[in-house]
């Protein structure tokens, strides 16, 4: 099973993306998306942003669970207080708990990454450390 994770800024601009595969049940952590799927994923993920705007006011939670579905692609969303969206595309519905843990860990590290004085709002997150930590969180929970 493969995952596509993206962080979308306040202007609906992409800040960070990362593809990875499951590490559970003997997975090797490599993504198995096909060549076309790379582009499709981006498209699917971004098209769900409209729904995020609707859902975000429904309950006061940062973690909004699965908000959209495109054939077998499910999209889970987590929105930070600063209106930055974490979107995760996954195939069969994952346990909500695992995704929640993943988001929380990424959130924690995201905050540290953007606290760097050289980071500016809505700038692409290029920190290699952050990328490593997202990968680690993926390995740990998904």
């Amino acid at each position: 099973m493969s995952y596509y994770f993206a962080i979308i800024g306040t202007q609906d601009n992409p800040l960070f993306e990362y593809e990875f595969g499951t590490s559970k049940q003997g997975g090797d952590g490599q993504s198995r998306f096909t060549e076309q799927a790379h582009h499709l994923n981006q498209f699917v993920l971004h098209s769900s942003l409209d729904i995020v705007e609707e859902v975000q006011w429904m309950n006061g939670q940062l973690y909004m669970k699965v908000i959209d579905k495109f054939f077998t692609n499910y999209i889970s969303c987590f929105m930070t207080g600063g209106n930055v969206k974490f979107l995760l595309l996954h195939q069969p519905p994952q346990t909500e708990e695992a995704i929640k843990n993943f988001f929380n860990e990424v959130y924690e590290n995201y905050v540290k990454a953007i606290m760097s004085p050289f980071y500016k709002v809505n700038m692409e997150v290029r920190s290699p450390v952050f990328r490593q930590r997202v990968a680690a969180a993926g390995r740990k929970y998904l």
Binding site: A113, S116, P117, F118
Partner: protein, 189 residues
């Protein structure tokens, strides 16, 4: 012996608390702004940080002397090093850098920072130059230079490695250039 005395002095001196993250973010914002103002001319940024630190040091020394109840001058440069690391840094940043790499003439030593509160969260800009040119915490060099000048020691302080740059340690090198003599009153005519 001097070493344990310095440690105790540093421990005893309690400080008011200010939120550490506020300081870290303020300093970070300042460095980032300097980088912007000087168009990422990191050599200039280093100089500017050193200059700011120097001006801070000139004042901070008075606060240090009052807080640490220092009456006497250090008898030698080794004692000065102990006081800097175990009292000065302890009072103002609540860290105690390690003193190492003395030269045999006792005029140069290194401070190795196991932790550097200023560098929390920081990742240097990835423009390919900052990693080689910017000394992010360079203000500390200036502070030491300014503070020691007020107690009649002319020193040179500079960073030689920084974990932010990918080095294993953060190390500052301090060299005593000379002791400054008392200034004499101008001759009356």
């Amino acid at each position: 012996m001097a070493s344990s005395k310095a440690s105790r002095l540093g421990e005893e001196t309690r400080m008011d608390k200010v939120n550490a993250e506020l300081v870290v973010l303020t300093y970070g914002a300042m460095v980032a702004q300097l980088c912007k103002d000087f168009d990422s001319d990191y050599v200039k940024v280093n100089q500017q940080l050193d200059k700011m630190g120097y001006n801070i040091g000139l004042r901070l020394i008075e606060d240090y002397l009052a807080k640490s109840n220092t009456f006497k001058r250090c008898s030698n440069f080794r004692e000065t090093a102990e006081m800097i690391a175990k009292v000065g840094f302890k009072i103002f940043l609540n860290i105690t850098p390690t003193i190492t790499n003395w030269t045999s003439d006792g005029k140069q030593f290194s401070l190795v920072f196991d932790e550097n509160p200023f560098a929390d969260f920081v990742e240097l800009p990835d423009d390919g130059r900052a990693q080689d040119e910017l000394w992010y915490s360079n203000i500390l060099c200036g502070v030491l230079r300014g503070a020691l000048e007020m107690v009649q020691m002319q020193v040179e302080a500079k960073f030689v490695s920084d974990v932010l740059r990918g080095n294993d340690t953060t190390e500052m090198r301090i060299s005593l250039i000379r002791y400054i003599d008392d200034e004499l009153p101008p001759e009356d005519d």
